[in-house]
Amino acid sequence: MINKTCPTVAEAVADIPDGATVMVGGFGASGSPIELLHALIDHGARELTVINNNTGNGEVGLAALIGNGQVRKMICSFPRSSQSKVFPKLYREGKIELEIVPQGTLAERIRVAGAGIPAFYTPTTVGTVLAEGKEVREFDGRQYVLEPWLKADFALIKCEVADRLGNLTYNKTARNFSPLMCMAATTTIVQARKLVARGGIDPESVITPGIFVNRIVEVSEPVHEDTLIAAERSYP
């Protein structure tokens, strides 16, 4: 019998080794898997390469993972925001690497990795410093830049509803990068607000088919990054 459920977030992340590449779902606060991130802090894996659109906010979730010195390199499109202070400080001190990737290119690099396509041409960045050193090719009279796939060892994902097969639904704009990351990681770990029986999700409503998911933990009352920041919380 297939049963991808896992009893605790601690067990779900226990085999993430030092040096792993980890995709983290979410766009800013929405969709950020805070409980899985905090479990990864407790677990303590270091020298991580983390892929997310941003670099976290306040001193919780992704920002706390970075602040705890566990991240060697961030791959993201927008590393600063009004409430990000941990990453900017470490970056200016030269203590963390940054690979800046345009948001659409970041999404597509993740998507093609999950789809088995090693690279693609995109018009994004043509004529800019972010295209320097990359292959440029002309199609139908217009220039395009070659971008490689982006894979990961693990993905940490927050979803709304999951079943034991790993079929997932999301909530509103909390979906963002998560369905792509589920496809692109070797091991996809999901925290679900609600775990339902097989058949509990209408097949027409499944956003991420279970084939892309490896582990599911029910976190029925997930904390939200903005709520934690408003309460001036930090982790650990």
Partner: protein, 214 residues
């Protein structure tokens, strides 16, 4: 010397040039104000990069949904007929040429339509590109809303951008506090002056030659 258009008036003026039925993406800052000024009788569908078509205005504080944000990480609402999708679909809409108009803020625009709005290139600056480079390449019409000069009075409409480029030759029209300006094969062209603003003032505050209204 007159003060020209306010931020809200610039946004309202830009909204006038968006055709009925357009799919529109609004950048952060003054461009966000465009949504408040949909001209009578027109319907726009707003796209946000983080995965929604049909974005509505901000909710009341006690009606916020923590899973419903825009690309600027601000809380928004979903209008009837809205749809949610993942990031690859969202940027397929952008790169695939399905979005009709994008309104962006900027640091600099050059006379041939180059735009620089993501980094000053300063050694201690943290580069943050977001979706800007995808938008300028993929959206059919790139509108820019910006003050005509910086706070220090330096021109933002110049011959060649000094800051790192976001895109080359992509801007079609600029809405400033002083004028509406088109990018043409001959460079900047004033198409409309703000009330009380003379062409000489616009030329004086532009970093290169600009053509008067015809």
């Amino acid at each position: 010397m007159s003060t020209g258009w306010t931020r809200e008036q610039m946004a309202a003026r830009a909204a006038q040039d968006i055709p009925d039925g357009s799919y529109v993406n609004l950048g952060i800052g003054i461009p966000e104000l465009v949504a408040k000024f949909v001209p009578e009788g027109r319907e726009f569908i707003y796209h946000t990069e983080n995965g929604m078509l049909g974005m509505g205005p901000p909710p009341a504080d006690d009606e916020r949904d923590l899973d419903l944000m825009n690309a600027g990480k601000k809380y928004v609402t979903a209008l009837p007929g809205a749809s949610y999708f993942h990031h690859a679909d969202s940027f397929s809409m952008i790169r695939g040429g399905h979005i009709d108009v994008c309104v962006l803020g900027t640091m600099q625009v050059s006379a041939n339509g180059d735009i620089a709005n993501w980094s000053t290139g300063a050694p201690d600056a943290i580069p943050a590109v977001g979706g800007a480079m995808d938008l300028v390449q993929g959206v059919k019409n790139i509108f820019v809303i910006t003050q005509h000069t910086t706070r220090d009075g330096e021109p933002k409409l110049i011959e060649k951008c000094a800051y790192p480029l976001t895109g080359v030759g992509v801007v079609s029209r600029i809405f400033t506090d002083l004028a509406v300006v088109d990018i043409t094969p001959k460079g900047f062209q004033v198409v409309e002056l703000a009330p009380g603003i003379g062409f000489d003032e616009v030329q004086q505050k532009t970093g290169t030659a600009i053509l008067p209204p015809t």
